[in-house]
């Protein structure tokens, strides 16, 4: 093995040298930049000297950001790119450079702490990535080298190596399939880990290589793969393989069906050989690693605004102090009294320099007004807090065993701010579990009843109990449906049956269909019930059984489905040798190309199906004459082997083939609504959130689903903006709608827009369209392309009000919308995990959205909003006395507090209570929040961080700071009134305090007041809150006693020695502390009580309910199993005693709070809630 590798390396080095020479000689661009790459299988380079080998990346996957060597510089660089960290770094440097009142430690230590914590977190995450990388890169793989199979590590695979992969292994690189253990060269794979599609996919080898099933035969294989340079699209691959056989070159096209992607897994196949074409970071999986765009929440934005305001305050204070200092110093007697002479150096230094250094010194003195630990605390809170979402049992889906998933914790609080919800329909509102219901064959409508097709109008009891006899049309229709698809078959015990495609041991019972599209699966299953069973395909033969009679069709071509054509076709050779094309697809994609069949009747039927909310597909066929088929075959082959513009040419050919169709009929498949969709949408609406449904479905289907899920309801006036052909027409219609809304503003309006009209409306009449939309309580957009969905989201996002948007969807077509919206939510559904991977949060079912927004969103918002406000408040309290003290010390930058107190205030004394608060606070019980969605309106529009509340907190901070300072100032008097009982053990010897004692008094009062202020805000006192609140105060006392009780050998001054004890030994100091604290908090309590009673928010009202009713009474949609227990019984008892149990009461309050939606009452029969009220 080693020898082989060495050989390879030598060879490569040789070729490298060759390349250099070549480059030097000609100056050509390196070959890597050409459009295609040429891969010589098994690295058998042509022998003639002109060959220039291309350089490819090795197969190492690197997802980590740092190495051991660059971690420190790179991480530091990343961290100091944040404004706040950089600010503190500057402050720190200023302290190092000039003579400042506080030592550099005061800002250096917190900065160091913050940086270290962040670095540890990031380092740990990177270490995990390294570990994962190493595991992947070191995984053993088998490679054919020098004519034998050698085991090596995954990272050693080079482009051109032939790799052997065994059953159930993942592919270590992007491979072009050469051969499998099957003679026809097919294999089955699942791409679940790439895109989440769990169905089995068949991949093919070209026939020329498929025969090389052993190492020895591969050795003799001479082939070259030419393919495009790597790109991220998982479903695109264009290449060709040139096999030299007996001196003859055979060229074969290669497409995605020949490519085995790294990360996919081999299934149902013993082993395959493939040649690596894209390796390492160039594989499609690696190219799909994406740095997610950074979304920032509204709270973060207001936080930054506040920071800037505080920066303004800081600069103002510093400048004011500097100016006042110089005003003061104009007089010599203040500037340089006899007792405080300056050094010569000080006298002689330049005035400007002094001014600047004074300004900087003041900046340093006041810099704590910008809360350094704010960012760390917020990050910690978000990180820890987001666990609650994943832990929530109510967001756990039992059937699929999936819990909610948080992909980014940065947006937790944004969940509480949502104003618009954009939801996909299929798979999000519906189960994406298809059930065949009806069909239309040759103009006759049929229903499926007990597995039989029954024409409309006939009853079930058709006389024939035995084999039903199908008409020609019916038979052809069923055959078309059972043949035109890409369904795979898997057997329940694939191991038992060595070859699943040998039908030796019977079938049917264990047979299971796997399809990428649930519609196809439903259709194939339906035809099976009706007697035409798809038995599977082996090689190019598709086999069906018509009432037990097998028929074999040769599959000539598959014209794959794509979203633009909206149809797919197969070309088959019937047992009788005819060539026939079967097509199925959206009715708009097929009907225009039909020329025979019951077109009009079918169209009517399709519309009827759609009205019932069924998903419709139209089926058609075309018979080819032998000449026609030759033409078709040639064109297809040409297009498929084209290296350039293959897709465009394919589309052209497809369109050429799929015309002149004979209409066979249409199918109607039902997609069941998910559980509790109606309740959820209603709850969201009551919460003041506008729900828009964006779907690719037909207009009629979309409207009927919308109606059935409560998005539209019967009382709504439904406006339509559909099938607008021209700009003017569209504008006219919009104006008409706007007028109607104005005339009829009492009832609610719903708007239906289709994709085409929407793009017209958005192109020219964005404003008008927005106007209409905003006045509609429900909007439904149908026939939307994925990018259009994102466009709609962006339109709303950037409208003048800048509402917060949320997009929710389950499929790849929702990804753009999920990424565009402020909050993107993925549904872990059947359509793969692409949406989940690109989302910010992922949940299993649509109904969980209610709890996610109404409960978690509400909590997170309140927590973080209070956290942010409180941080600013406590830092104002902290620094303002310092500022005020300057007025009494000649602006000499004397600090009021000791350096250690300055440093530890934010780190130790006041950090934990707010963190615990911000993790556990619950203003209202979750059940109440969920059962009264209107409470969500209390926090809408970022209300807790509005400028008014910000001003309130800031002013409060200043007021408290004034009380702390002047309270202490007056009580201190001339430094005799508050006197410590100075001499321990000897009573009645009153001594004066001194400046440090004064500062400590202010600081003590401050720590206690600030902690108690938070206690006033706390509504949910768990043992942890008690522990940290009282613990913080106790810690402050214990720490101060300890700190003041020791002569610290490494400190230059012992300023604080016994100061704290001295302070506490004075009786009047205790009285002063108490009175100052009470004076600060007393107005706040009064304000709270008056607001609560005279102007209560609905949140506060519901706190009362909760308090009086007990929890069990206010039941909710998702109730804990423990919900009904003694507490509800007690609650009811209390109510009866108080005469409160009035059945109409709770529902009434919920209506009262929602006069807005008074006309919603007709549909307010949200049974689970109202019925369960007491």
């Amino acid at each position: 093995m080693l020898a082989a590798e060495r050989d390879l390396r030598v060879e490569q080095q040789k070729s490298l040298r060759v390349k250099w020479v070549w480059n030097d000689m000609t100056g050509f661009d390196p070959p890597h930049q050409s459009d295609t790459r040429t891969v010589y299988i098994a690295n058998k380079f042509p022998q003639n000297g002109h060959y220039v080998p291309q350089r490819f990346a090795d197969n190492r996957i690197i997802s980590s950001k740092y190495t051991i060597w660059n971690f420190v510089p790179k991480n530091l660089f990343e961290q100091f790119r944040r404004i706040a960290n950089f600010y503190f770094l500057i402050i720190f440097l200023v302290q190092l450079m000039i003579d400042t009142p506080t030592s550099p430690i005061t800002s250096g230590l917190p900065l160091f702490f913050v940086i270290t914590v962040t670095a540890i977190k990031q380092g740990y995450e990177d270490w995990l990535r390294h570990k994962a990388d190493n595991e992947v890169n070191g995984a053993p793989v088998f490679v054919v080298r020098s004519g034998s199979l050698v085991q090596t590590r995954s990272k050693n695979i080079r482009v051109g190596d032939i790799v052997r992969v065994a059953k159930d292994e993942t592919f270590p690189a992007d491979l072009v399939l050469l051969s499998s253990d099957r003679a026809e060269g097919t294999c089955h794979i699942t791409t679940a880990s790439l895109d989440g599609e769990t169905n089995l996919k068949t991949h093919y080898a070209v026939p020329e290589t498929a025969v090389s099933q052993s190492v020895s035969r591969l050795e003799s294989l001479q082939a070259v793969v030419e393919c495009q340079q790597p790109e991220a699209d998982l479903y695109r691959f264009v290449g060709r393989i040139t096999v030299t056989q007996h001196g003859e070159e055979i060229v074969r096209p290669l497409g995605p069906e020949n490519l085995l992607l790294r990360g996919a897994r081999l299934k149902n196949t013993k082993e395959i050989f493939g040649v690596a074409v894209y390796t390492g970071m160039e594989s499609k999986m690696a190219l799909n690693y994406k740095c997610k765009s950074q979304k920032r929440s509204a709270v973060e934005k207001s936080m930054n605004t506040f920071l800037i305001i505080y920066l303004g305050i800081l600069l103002f204070e510093a400048i004011l102090s500097t100016i006042l200092k110089y005003a003061w110093q104009a007089e010599d007697k203040w500037n340089e009294p006899f007792y405080n002479q300056k050094t010569d150096q000080e006298r002689n230094s330049s005035q400007i320099l002094k001014f600047i250094s004074d300004f900087l010194a003041f900046l340093v003195l006041y810099n704590f007004i910008i809360p350094i630990s704010l960012y760390v605390t917020v990050e910690l809170q978000k990180f820890l807090g987001s666990f609650f979402i994943g832990w929530d049992l109510d967001l756990y889906h039992e059937e699929s065993d999936q819990k909610a998933q948080v992909n980014t914790s940065d947006l937790n609080e944004e969940l509480g701010q949502v104003e618009y919800v954009f939801t996909d329909k299929t798979g999000t509102l519906t189960e994406n579990e298809m059930q065949f219901r009806e069909c239309s064959i040759n103009g006759v409508k049929y229903q499926e009843i007990n597995g039989k097709l029954v024409p409309e109008g006939l009853t079930e009891d058709t006389p024939d109990g035995s084999l039903p006899c199908l008409s020609r049309e019916e038979e052809l229709f069923l055959k078309a449906v059972s043949l035109c698809h890409t369904v795979q078959i898997s057997y329940d015990h694939p191991d038992a049956a060595a070859d699943p495609f040998s039908h030796a041991n019977g079938f049917s019972a264990q047979m299971e269909y796997y399809a990428s599209s649930p519609d196809e699966k439903a259709l194939v299953e339906a035809t099976k019930r009706m007697g035409v069973t798809f038995m599977g395909s082996h090689g190019e033969i598709m086999e069906i059984k018509k009432f037990g009679k097998a028929e074999k069709y040769k599959l000539l071509h598959v014209l794959e489905f794509d979203a633009n054509r909206r149809r797919m076709s197969v070309i088959l050779q019937t047992p009788s040798g005819q060539k026939v094309l079967f097509t199925k697809g959206a009715e708009s994609a097929i009907l225009p190309y039909t020329k025979s069949g019951e077109i009009d009747k079918t169209r009517v039927h399709v519309d009827e199906f759609a009205l019932k909310g069924l998903r419709t597909l139209v089926v058609a066929c075309r018979h080819f004459s032998a000449d026609e088929y030759r033409d078709v075959d040639r064109r297809l082959h040409e297009a498929r082997t084209a290296l350039q513009q293959r897709e465009e040419r394919l589309v052209e050919v497809f369109n050429f083939i799929e015309r002149d169709l004979e209409l066979l009929g249409a199918t109607g498949v039902e997609d069941k609504l998910q559980d509790k969709v109606q309740e959820t949408i209603e709850a969201l609406r009551l919460a003041g959130i506008k729900v828009w449904v964006l779907t690719g479905d037909k207009h009629e289907t979309a409207v009927s689903v919308s109606l059935s899920c409560g998005h539209f309801h019967r009382t709504m006036n439904i406006l339509e903006l559909v099938q607008q052909k021209s700009d003017n027409e569209c504008a006219e219609q919009l104006r008409r709608l706007a007028r109607r809304i104005k005339e009829d503003h009492v009832i609610q309006h719903g708007l239906v827009v289709d994709g085409a009209s929407l793009s017209l409306a958005l192109r020219e009449h964005e404003k008008l369209f927005m106007e209409v939309c905003k006045n509609c309580s429900a909007v439904l957009c149908c026939r939307m392309a994925p990018l259009q969905k994102a466009k709609v989201v962006r339109l709303l996002k950037t409208s003048p009000e800048k509402p917060i948007t949320l997009a929710i969807g389950d499929g790849a077509n929702d990804v753009s919308m999920i990424q565009e919206a402020h909050v993107g939510i993925g549904i872990m559904g059947k359509e793969g995990r692409q949406a989940v991977r690109n989302s910010d949060y992922a949940i299993a079912r649509f109904k969980f959205l209610a709890k996610l927004l109404l409960v978690h969103g509400h909590f997170y918002y309140i927590r973080i909003a209070t956290l942010v406000q409180y941080f600013f408040y406590k830092n104002v309290c902290f620094i303002t006395p310092q500022f005020l003290y300057q007025f009494f010390c000649l602006f000499s930058q004397q600090t009021l507090y000791d350096s250690v107190y300055l440093t530890l205030y934010n780190i130790c004394f006041t950090s934990l209570p707010i963190l615990v608060y911000s993790l556990f606070e619950q203003l209202v019980h979750p059940h109440v929040l969920q059962s009264k969605p209107a409470l969500y309106r209390d926090i809408s529009k970022n209300s807790l961080l509005s400028f008014k509340t910000f001003l309130y907190w800031t002013v409060l901070g200043f007021c408290h700071a004034f009380v702390f300072f002047f309270g202490s100032y007056i009580l201190m008097g001339e430094d005799t009134t508050l006197m410590g009982n100075g001499q321990i053990l000897r009573a009645n010897r009153q001594l004066m305090f001194g400046n440090w004692t004064f500062g400590t008094l202010v600081f003590t009062v401050m720590v206690i007041t600030v902690t108690l202020k938070l206690a006033l805000e706390t509504h949910f006192w768990t043992w942890m809150n008690h522990f940290v609140t009282w613990g913080s105060i106790a810690f402050y006392f214990i720490f101060s006693l300890f700190y003041g009780g020791i002569i610290w050998p490494f400190l230059h001054t012992q300023d604080m020695y016994f100061v704290f004890v001295q302070l506490l030994s004075s009786g009047s100091a205790w009285f002063a502390i108490i009175i100052i604290i009470i004076t600060c908090l007393f107005p706040d309590v009064i304000k709270k009580v008056f607001y609560r009673h005279l102007q209560p928010t609905s949140t506060q009202k519901s706190q009362f309910i909760e308090a009086y009713q007990g929890i069990g009474c206010v039941d909710s949609m998702c109730c804990f199993s423990e919900g009904q227990n003694a507490c509800s019984r007690l609650g009811r008892l209390v109510e009866r005693l108080m005469g409160r149990c009035d059945p109409a009461r709770t529902p009434r309050s919920w209506h009262d709070s929602d006069t807005f939606f008074s006309n919603d009452r007709s549909i307010l029969t949200l049974s689970p809630m109202e019925v369960s009220h007491c």
Binding site: W334, F338, N340, Q341, K342, T343, F388, W391, D392, D401, Q402, K403, C889, L890, S892, Q894, F920, Q922, G967, L971, M972, G973, E974, D975, T976, M979, G982, Q983, Q990, L991, M992, G994, T997, F998, G999, L1016, H1019, W1021, M1024, I1047, T1053, F1058, Q1062, S1066, S1068, F1071, I1075, I1078, V1085, V1089, F1090, R1092, H1093, L1094, P1096, Q1103, F1104, E1106, F1120, R1140
Partner: protein, 341 residues
């Protein structure tokens, strides 16, 4: 995956993960706040009355002796720059000034809290480390070395500017001056005297030798080891007056304890009668508009006289009561309609 159990992903159903921790959920409603305020208010009024009355019993006698006014006895001294100027202040007490009487000197417009001033000391010197005697820390400058570059001990602005007026108090009984004994012990913090400040160890049995090679602070009349000639234990850095001075005042207007009157006939206080105080006027304050005064005061358990604390308690207490009454009225009138919402 399904083989590993159907509910492998199921979150734990614990009170913590489900945010159902038992919690006390107080509501600041009128029902709690009104009686609460009433109780607090009444308690505060009680405390306030107590504090106020205590404060009222404290006698304070203040006398400015700066000598700004031309008719004041110390005017002469304030004008001359000569040392050893003495002036006399007389006063009379019409009732007993209950003891123990505390005797303070007070300065105003004096910024001991100036930052550069405040750091201008060498703690290592003051803790008796003779290494620092010869090379004081740089923070002391310009008070580290004298003109001839000899190190100053104790260095720094604070020490240099030590208050050096001295007072003698006499009671005039029948025309004769009766010296009132002043007690200068224990006027500094116990920890300062016993732990924080240390004299250098004696060299050859004498403190003075330990200070060899250093000079006294420029403004001092005597070196540190000779501050109190009457009591050898009150010298060096452990001089009580020095310690009092070294504890910087927080505000520009301050008093510092000078002596206590606890001995002899005056243990119970200063009896009514006429007194005369001799001031050895040394300390210049007029250059910076400062004032000097002497204060006699007695103290209670709560310290010196401070009416403000009592008044603050009375005001806040009454406000609490008033607010609770207002709330009660509002409550009765509006019935708190939302109370049962």
């Amino acid at each position: 995956m399904k083989n590993e159990g159907e509910t492998a992903q199921r979150p734990d159903n614990t009170a913590f993960t489900q945010q159902r921790l038992p919690a006390w959920q107080p509501i600041l409603s009128a029902g709690i706040v009104i009686p609460g305020f009433l109780v607090i208010g009444l308690a505060f009024i009680g405390i306030g009355v107590g504090l106020f009355l205590t404060s009222q019993t404290i006698q304070v006698l203040e006398m400015d002796y700066t000598g700004v006014a031309t008719d004041s006895s110390c005017f002469r001294c304030s004008m001359t720059s000569s040392q050893n100027c003495t002036c006399e202040i007389t006063f009379s007490l019409d009732k007993l000034f209950t003891g123990p009487v505390f005797f303070y000197y007070g300065l105003s417009n004096y910024y001991q809290n100036f930052r550069k001033y405040g750091v201008s000391l060498d703690y290592y010197q003051l803790s008796g480390d003779t290494q620092y005697f010869t090379s004081p820390q740089s923070v002391c400058s310009p008070y580290s070395y004298d003109n001839q570059n000899r190190p100053i001990v104790p260095c720094g602005a604070i020490a240099n500017s030590m208050f050096n007026d001295t007072f003698e108090l006499y009671q005039i009984i029948n025309g004769t001056k009766n010296l009132v004994p002043l007690d200068g012990k224990g006027i500094a913090w116990w920890t300062d005297y016993n732990i924080k400040y240390r004299n250098p160890s004696f060299v050859n049995g004498s403190l003075a030798n330990a200070f060899a090679g250093t000079v006294k602070p420029i403004n001092w009349p005597k070196p540190a080891y000779d501050l109190d000639s009457t009591d050898p234990n009150n010298n060096g850095f452990l001089n009580q007056d020095f310690l009092v001075w070294m504890r910087r005042a927080a505000l520009p207007q301050f008093r510092k304890l000078y002596r206590r009157i606890t001995e002899g006939n005056y243990a119970a206080g200063l009896p009514a009668g006429n007194y005369s105080m001799t001031v050895h006027y040394n300390y210049p304050v007029l250059t910076f508009d400062g004032r000097k005064k002497v204060v006699f005061s007695n103290v209670s358990w709560m310290g010196g006289r401070n009416d403000f604390l009592g008044i603050a308690y009375l005001v806040v207490g009454s406000l609490c009561v008033v607010m609770s009454i207002i709330m009660l009225i509002v409550y009765a009138k509006f019935k708190f309609s939302d109370d049962d919402a």
